[in-house]
C-alpha cells in the first residue's frame, strides 16, 4: 500500500490506480517483418527488475489518464513521476 501523486489529480491511494507494466517498450514499426523471436521479446519478455524500474500506470478510478512512474520495486518507493511523452529522468537510467 502506498500513495501515488497523479500528475493530473494530486496524491491518491494506490488502490485508485492500475499498474500497466514495464514502460518504454516500443511498439514495432514494421510488425509484418518481425521474426517469432522478436515478437516473443516484444509481447512476453520483461526485465522484471528488483530495484529501480520504469513503469506505466493509469489513474483508473480517477482521471483515467496514463502516466509513468519510476519506482524501486524492492521497497515500493516512488522516485519520480512524469507524463506520457515526456523524457524519462536520466538519473535513474
Amino acid at each position: 500500500m502506498f500513495l501515488i501523486h497523479c500528475p493530473y489529480c494530486g496524491e491518491r491511494e494506490q488502490s485508485e490506480f492500475k499498474a500497466g507494466g514495464e514502460a518504454h517498450i516500443v511498439r514495432p514499426k514494421q510488425p509484418t517483418e518481425l521474426s517469432d523471436d522478436q515478437w516473443a521479446e516484444y509481447l512476453f519478455m520483461r526485465k522484471n527488475i528488483k530495484g529501480v524500474q520504469f513503469e506505466r500506470w493509469v489513474h483508473a478510478h480517477g482521471c483515467r489518464k496514463w502516466f509513468n512512474i519510476v519506482r524501486d520495486t524492492s521497497n515500493d518507493e516512488i522516485k519520480a513521476i512524469y507524463k506520457m511523452g515526456e523524457k524519462p529522468p536520466t538519473k535513474y537510467k
Partner: protein
C-alpha cells in the same frame, strides 16, 4: 545414514527429553566444484536435488540458498494441493505431483501431514457453472477424479457456507476433487532436505548467488557470498527472484514478480474440514491442524519484491469470506504476510532448458506452485540429468513464448490457486 523416524525412535528419544535427536541435515561449507548446483533451497529446489540423487544416481550436488531452507514461498503459501486443471498438459503435470504426494510421507520417512480432505471450487454465475462443468468433464477424461455439485450438495458438503440466493455472489454450484487437500508446507522442505542430505547433497544456507560465470555457450560456475563455486550445470529454482538470477546470465524471462498475500485467524475448534476456493470473489479458506483459518488472497497488480502487498487486497478477500461464511464475522486475524510469486503470461510454469548450455530454469509457478512440489522436482531433475525434458514437462518449455504454443490456464483452471 539417518536414523529412521518411527514410534520406537519417538519413545527412545523421550527418555533423553528429546534433546539427542540426530541432526536432520548438515551445514557444510561449499566445495570448490560440483557437478550440479541448484539455486534456491525451497521445496522445489530441494526436491530437485533429492530426485537427482535418488533416481538419476547423480553425485556431487549442491543446493545454495540465500536465506534458510523453506523460508521463501514454501513457508508462505496456503498449502493447497489439487490437480483439477483443464488442459491435458497441466492435468498430466499436476496429477503426476498428486500421485507422488499420496505416498510422500512413506517415501521420505517424514510426516508431511498430507491430508486428502478434498478441494471444492465454487461457481457464482452462469459462466462459472459452464466453465466448472466443462473442467469436470475434462478432468474425468484425463483420469482425474472430479464431480460437479449443485447448491444443495455444496451446502451438504460444507454446511457453514451461506447458500442464500440473496447474497451478492450466490453459490450456484461447485466442483469437488476428493483426492485433493493440504499438506504441512515446512515439513515438505525439511523432509526433502533430510532425504537429500542423506544421499550426500550439500545444502548450503545463507549463501546468496551474486553472479553466473559464462563461458562460450555454456556456464562455468556461480559467484556467491561464500566464494566462487565451479559447475557445468545450474538449475535455477528461485521463484520470485528468477528474473534476477536470469539477468546474471544475460537472459530475459517472460515473468513478472508480484506480492501474493495470505493470512491466518486465531485458532478455533474444527469448523471446516475441507478446502473451499472461490475464483469469482477470489477467496479461499481451509483450517490448519492448529485450528487457524488459513485464508488466501489475490496478488497485487504491480511488480514488487517487497513481500508486503496492499491492504485493499486483504479487505476484498475478507469481504468475500464474510459473505460466504457469516459465522466467521467475529473472528480475529492473527497474522498476514506476502510472498513474491513469479507469474507467466499464460499462468503456467516453465520447467525447461534455456538457450545457454547447462543452465536450466524451473520458474513461473505463479500463485500455485506448492501443490506441484514433488512432481516439479522429479521432472526438473529428469530435465537436468538427461538434458532433455520428460514428456510430462515438454509442453512447459521456455520456447513456447516464441512458438506461441502456450498452456493457457488463466481462468481456465480453477484459479485462485
Amino acid at each position: 545414514m539417518k536414523n529412521k523416524y518411527s514410534i520406537i525412535s519417538l519413545i527412545k528419544n523421550s527418555f533423553s527429553y528429546h534433546e539427542n535427536w540426530q541432526k536432520a541435515w548438515g551445514d557444510p561449507e561449499p566445495k570448490k566444484e560440483y557437478d550440479i548446483v541448484i539455486i534456491g533451497g525451497g521445496g522445489h529446489g530441494l526436491a530437485t536435488a533429492y530426485y537427482l540423487a535418488k533416481k538419476h544416481d547423480m553425485k556431487n550436488i549442491a543446493v545454495v540458498e540465500k536465506g534458510w531452507i523453506g523460508g521463501g514461498n514454501t513457508g508462505r503459501n496456503t498449502t493447497i494441493i489439487r490437480s483439477n486443471y483443464l488442459w491435458d498438459a497441466s492435468a498430466g503435470l499436476y496429477d503426476h505431483a498428486l500421485k507422488i504426494w499420496e505416498n510422500l510421507s512413506q517415501e521420505l520417512n517424514y510426516n508431511v501431514m498430507f491430508s486428502q480432505r478434498g478441494v471444492m471450487n465454487l461457481a457464482h454465475n452462469l459462466q462459472d457453472v459452464r466453465d466448472l462443468k466443462r473442467r469436470t468433464h475434462a478432468n474425468r477424461l484425463n483420469g482425474i477424479d472430479a464431480v460437479y455439485l449443485n447448491t444443495d450438495q455444496v451446502k451438504k458438503f460444507c454446511p457453514i457456507i451461506n447458500t442464500s440466493p440473496d447474497i451478492r455472489y450466490p453459490v450456484l454450484g461447485g466442483t469437488l476433487q476428493r483426492r485433493a487437500g493440504t499438506a504441512r508446507h515446512d515439513a515438505v522442505a525439511w523432509g526433502y532436505a533430510r532425504g537429500a542430505d542423506e544421499m550426500g547433497v550439500d545444502i548450503i544456507q545463507n549463501c546468496e548467488v551474486k553472479g553466473i560465470k559464462r563461458s562460450g555457450d555454456g556456464v562455468e560456475g556461480i559467484e556467491t557470498t561464500k566464494g566462487f563455486i565451479k559447475t557445468k550445470k545450474i538449475g535455477v529454482v528461485a521463484a520470485g527472484h528468477s528474473s534476477v538470477i536470469a539477468s546474471m546470465a544475460g537472459l530475459k524471462l517472460p515473468l513478472e514478480s508480484k506480492p501474493l498475500q495470505a493470512l491466518v485467524s486465531e485458532p478455533v475448534k474444527p469448523i471446516i474440514d475441507t478446502v473451499v476456493m472461490s475464483n469469482a470473489v477470489h477467496a479461499y479458506v481451509s483450517q490448519s491442524d492448529k485450528g487457524e483459518l488459513v485464508i488466501g488472497a489475490g496478488t497485487d497488480d504491480y511488480v514488487s519484491y517487497s513481500q508486503k502487498g496492499s491492504h485493499d487486497i486483504v479487505e476484498g478477500t475478507l469481504n468475500a469470506i464474510l459473505e460466504l461464511y457469516p459465522i466467521f464475522s467475529r473472528m480475529r486475524m492473527l497474522r498476514q504476510w506476502g510472498g513474491i510469486v513469479d507469474i507467466c503470461p499464460d499462468a503456467s510454469p516453465i520447467i525447461s532448458k534455456t538457450p545457454i548450455k547447462g543452465l536450466y530454469f524451473n520458474c513461473g509457478w505463479g500463485t500455485g506452485g506448492f501443490k506441484a512440489t514433488p512432481g516439479s522436482g522429479d521432472l526438473f531433475a529428469h530435465t537436468i540429468a538427461n538434458d532433455e525434458p520428460h514428456k510430462l514437462n515438454a509442453a512447459f518449455n521456455l520456447n513456447r513464448f516464441v512458438s506461441g504454443d502456450l498452456v493457457d490456464e488463466h481462468g481456465a483452471a480453477a484459479v485462485a490457486h
